[in-house]
Structures are given as structure tokens and as C-alpha cells.
């Protein structure tokens, strides 16, 4: 073949896991985040997806979570720990979004 790019075979065609790019990527991920959920793509992801939507500041939850965490920082709801969906991952007052801008005409209208 005269293509200049690397022809990467689909994962199914190789027997050697070392040359499988996906397995390499998986190993990389597990090395970085050893506590990542046992069920890949399982119900934890889906629960997070179903609960998509900005949860607003709720002072009751916030104070309870703060009490539990004691002096530790409240974790931000980002990063690969996608299995945690509630409780400790409520926005803090600092994370609240800015007030939405007034309704204006789309810039596509030119």
C-alpha cells in the first residue's frame, strides 16, 4: 500500500494484546484511575446520564456534605469519577453559573 499513514488493524484481527491500541489505552486508564468502576459502561454511566442537568445550590445538602467532609475540599463534579452522581457533587456557591444573558437574536442572522 502506498498510504503514508499507519494502517491500524481493527482490534479483532490481532491476537497479541500488546499491539492492540485499545488494550493499551485501557491499561493507561486503569493505571491512572485504579478505582474506576468495575462495570465498564454499566449502570453508573447511565445513571449519570439520566441525571444530566444543572443541580442548583441546595443549602441543606451543601451543609450536610460539608459536615461529612470536615476540612477537606468538596470535589468538583468533573474528571473520570463519573460513577458518583449525587450527594457530594453538588455545586458550591463558587461554581454556580452566571446569570443567563438576556435573550438576543442569533448571530446566524447576521
Amino acid at each position: 500500500p502506498n498510504c503514508s499513514g499507519e494502517w491500524s488493524r481493527p482490534a479483532t484481527e490481532t491476537q497479541d494484546p500488546n499491539s492492540n491500541p485499545v488494550k493499551t489505552e485501557e491499561a493507561k486508564l486503569k493505571a491512572k484511575y485504579p478505582n474506576l468502576g468495575q462495570k465498564p459502561g454499566g449502570s453508573d454511566f447511565l445513571m449519570k446520564r439520566l441525571q444530566k442537568g444543572q443541580k442548583y445550590f441546595d443549602s441543606g445538602d451543601y451543609n450536610m456534605a460539608k459536615a461529612k467532609m470536615k476540612n477537606k475540599q468538596l470535589p468538583a463534579a468533573t474528571g473520570p469519577e463519573k460513577s458518583i452522581v449525587t450527594g457530594d457533587h453538588i455545586p458550591t456557591p463558587q461554581d454556580l453559573p452566571q446569570r443567563k444573558s438576556s435573550l438576543v437574536t442569533s448571530k446566524l442572522v447576521g
Binding site: E6, P21, V22, K32, G41, L46, Q54, L103, S106
Partner: protein, 460 residues
């Protein structure tokens, strides 16, 4: 001849037709702001041509709809060969707040679907996460003048001063395009609506969220039929969600829905009122040795589209587009790799959430070609007959009028050729999730974040 997905194959002699039957895509128009600072509200979230291709609608994250109309080609303006210009714009949805669940309901327009035109007015359905609206877009180019009871300003005339009667006359006025919400279909979805699809009976349509699909009648807003419900009794047992759904283009009893596990179910509404039991189940068997943490995530189907013929359907997962023959459930008949080079980047794509990006796909009018988006403002087209594929880029640099788009190539190996771009240089913030193909002609609309590009085939 190299058959890898990275190379544009050498042109072959066209069968039958003299010369080549390759597309020569040229820049036509670009809409939207140029500045680097993209306001979130300006991000385009859906693009859709109407049935004739005369109108092109876009929806954005700010809940606004902009409709463009194609200019009639006229001798007076030969250069504006079928250009799309703004026809109407309106605020379709506004942000809401669900106080019970302490959740914000985004105004982002998830989908727009046109109704077939039945009279002078145009109708479309637009939806956000929770509410679907039917909008009527109508033109007014005349107004009545010479009323008896009110004067031209609209102020009421003193009835005692009226001594004669006159018949109002219709006078031409500047064209005014009005958009008005005719129906609001609300409160039927607990989860987030991902799809709407107008049925071929032109009377009903379906709406799908993560766990349920409802069937509506366009005239009736206070009730809908639930036709699919995959919510488990115990949410701990949840293993898959509905990702997209579509009505068959000709058979009004048939629809399909895709899942996060890479499967598609075809349902027949004649079989039962609740279509939890599918009539057909489409799934490509997976090689167990290739199973990884990413397998299920990248197999999740982000879009499903029937061919215009109704004989095939196409699905888009993270790395590929597959064409399925409705008569064959055990594997697709065609598979096209969109950006296979991302397989070695899955770890970082997972970390930056790009692995969850939902790309759409579309057919051309004759079902001979398919198109889908990628990163770095690249988009890919596949010709099903010749098996040629091409990568093009939507960028301001290639936006000279009628400039032909140059094919782009991504390089994964060490040696990068002059015009190629390496995988590590790709801009993953520039994603083309939404594209649309004119139903009859070779005109395409590509949404690149906050800009809308329109390209036309030179032959056009």
C-alpha cells in the same frame, strides 16, 4: 490500491456516465460570528432541511431557531446561485426550572423536524429536553386598509363621525414572516428527549427520551401514547438507554430505536399497543477478545437514520457509520470507519469526555452517499457505490466563494506529509456533530460550533 480509510482512493472511470461522477464540493456560504469567543448560546445544536430543500432550519443552545430560505435563481442576480438567506428567526424554547427536582431545564434545541408542506404555511416541530412545540411559519404580504371602525394607526374611530361605509382593500406590504407556536406538547417525558420523528401518515409523530418513546397526534397536546418503556422496575438493574428513534419513511406502523449498547430494535405498532417486544433486533456480534473498558461506550449509537428508500438504515457509533439492510439483523451490510486513528487515543478522549460526543449522520437524496462529522472541523463523506471516501474541512480559510474544498488527510505514523495533519494536532473542541444534506440536490449544511457552512457541488 490502498484500501485504508485514510486514503482517498484513486478515481475510477464512472460506469455509464461520461467523465467522473465524483462530487466536487465548493464553498458557498458561511453564517455566524467570526470572533474566537464563542458564546454558549450560539452553539448550533441541530440542522435540518425541509422536504423540498427550500428551507433550512437551525436550532441552537440558546433555544433559538433560525430558518434560511433558498433564493430563487434569477437573471438579475446570477451569482447568488441558490443562496440561503434568513427567512425567519424566533425564540422557540426558554430556560425553565423544575423546582421539585432542583434541575434546570435547558432551552437547547435538541432536534427540529419539518412537517410535509400541505398549504402555504410551513410547520416544524422543535424540541428541548422536555417539551416539543409545533411552530407555524407563515408569510404575510398583504394587509387590509380602509377599515370602517378604526383608522390606519389602529385607533378606534368615533362611530358617530362615520357617515359612509367603505369596503377595505388589500394592499401589498413588505413581506413579513411570522412564526407562531400552534401546539405545545409538554409534560410527557421524565427523562431527556433525544429524538422526534414525524410519521409518514403526517398525523402522528414520536418522541423518545432515555427510557421511553411516546406517540403523539399532532392535533392533541393533552395526551400521548407510550409505545416503548425500557425503564426497569429496579433502577439498579439499568443496563441500557434509548439513544435515538425514527419512524419508517413509508410504513407508518414501523419505527426503530437505538441503544447505548449498540443495538437497534425495529418495532411494529400493529403487533401490540406497547412495543416493548421488538419485531427485529439488529446487533453486530462482537469479538470477545477485543472487549475492553471502552467497548460499550464506543458502540453506543448516537444517531439512526432510515434511507429515503426505506430499505436500509444507518447508525453512527463513536468510530464508525454502519448501513444495515432491514432484512438482515445479524450484521450491517456496510461499515465505514470515520476516524479509526482515534482508537489509540481513547484514554484521553475518555478523560476529556469527547468519547461521549454524539455525532449525527445523514443520507443524500438518492441514498448513494452518506455523511458524518468528526473533529478539527473535519467531516467525512462515503460514496456507497464506488466505496470512495473523502475528508473535508469547514473552515474560514477555505471560504472564498465557489472555492473547491481540498481533501484533508490525518497522519498517524511518524512521517507526516506536507498537507497532512497529525492526530495529536487535531482540535477536539472543533467538533462537527450536525450535518444535513439537501433532499434533492448536492447541497450540504455543516454546523461547526457556532458557524453554519453551506457547500455545493460544482456540478450543481
Amino acid at each position: 490500491m490502498c484500501v485504508c480509510s485514510l486514503c482517498v482512493s484513486a478515481p475510477r472511470a464512472a460506469a455509464g456516465v461520461g467523465g467522473g461522477n465524483d462530487f466536487q464540493w465548493c464553498f458557498s456560504q458561511v453564517k455566524g460570528a467570526i470572533d474566537e469567543d464563542v458564546a454558549e448560546a450560539d452553539i448550533i445544536s441541530t440542522v435540518e432541511f425541509n422536504y423540498s430543500g427550500e428551507l433550512l432550519a437551525t436550532g441552537d443552545k440558546g433555544g433559538r431557531v433560525v430558518i434560511f430560505q433558498r433564493e430563487q435563481e434569477s437573471k438579475n442576480r446570477p451569482l447568488s446561485r441558490g443562496e440561503y438567506n434568513v427567512y425567519s428567526t424566533f425564540q422557540s424554547h426558554e430556560p425553565e426550572f423544575d423546582y421539585l427536582k432542583s434541575l434546570e431545564i435547558e432551552e437547547k434545541i435538541n432536534k427540529i423536524r419539518w412537517l410535509p408542506q400541505q398549504n402555504a404555511a410551513h410547520f416544524l416541530l422543535s424540541t428541548n429536553d422536555k417539551t416539543i412545540k409545533l411552530w407555524k411559519i407563515s408569510e404575510r404580504d398583504k394587509r387590509a386598509e380602509g377599515y370602517n371602525l378604526k383608522d390606519e394607526d389602529g385607533r378606534l374611530r368615533d362611530p358617530f363621525r362615520i357617515s359612509t361605509l367603505r369596503v377595505p382593500v388589500l394592499m401589498p406590504m413588505d413581506l413579513m414572516v411570522e412564526a407562531s407556536p400552534r401546539r405545545i406538547f409538554a409534560n410527557a417525558h421524565t427523562y431527556h428527549i433525544n429524538s422526534i420523528s414525524v410519521n409518514s401518515d403526517h398525523e402522528t409523530y414520536l418522541s423518545a427520551d432515555d427510557l421511553r418513546i411516546n406517540l403523539w397526534h399532532l392535533e392533541i397536546t393533552d395526551r400521548s401514547f407510550n409505545i416503548v418503556d425500557i425503564k426497569p422496575a429496579n433502577m439498579e438493574e439499568l443496563t441500557e438507554v434509548i439513544t435515538a428513534a425514527e419512524c419508517h419513511p413509508h410504513q407508518c406502523n414501523v419505527f426503530v430505536y437505538s441503544s447505548s449498547k449498540g443495538t437497534i430494535r425495529l418495532c411494529d405498532m400493529r403487533a401490540a399497543a406497547l412495543c416493548d417486544r421488538h419485531s427485529k433486533f439488529f446487533e453486530e456480534p462482537e469479538d470477545p477478545s477485543s472487549r475492553s473498558f471502552f467497548s460499550e461506550i464506543i458502540s453506543s449509537i448516537s444517531d439512526v437514520k432510515f434511507s429515503h428508500s426505506g430499505r436500509y438504515m444507518m447508525t453512527r457509533d463513536y468510530l464508525s457509520v454502519k448501513v444495515w439492510d432491514l432484512n438482515m439483523e445479524n450484521r450491517p451490510v456496510e461499515t465505514y470507519q470515520v476516524h479509526e486513528y482515534l482508537r489509540s487515543k481513547l484514554c484521553s478522549l475518555y478523560e476529556n469526555d469527547c468519547i461521549f460526543d454524539k455525532f449525527e449522520c445523514c443520507w443524500n437524496g438518492s441514498d448513494s452517499a452518506i455523511m458524518t462529522g468528526s473533529y478539527n472541523n473535519f467531516f467525512r463523506m462515503f460514496d456507497r457505490n464506488t466505496r470512495r471516501d473523502i475528508t473535508l474541512e469547514a473552515s474560514r480559510e477555505n471560504s472564498k466563494p465557489r472555492a473547491t474544498l481540498k481533501p484533508r488527510k490525518v497522519c498517524t505514523g511518524g512521517k507526516r506529509k506536507k498537507d497532512e495533519i497529525s492526530v495529536d494536532s487535531l482540535d477536539f473542541n472543533k467538533k462537527i456533530l450536525h450535518t444535513a444534506w439537501h433532499p434533492k440536490e448536492n447541497v450540504i449544511a455543516v454546523a461547526a460550533t457556532n458557524n453554519l457552512y453551506i457547500f455545493q457541488d460544482k456540478m450543481n
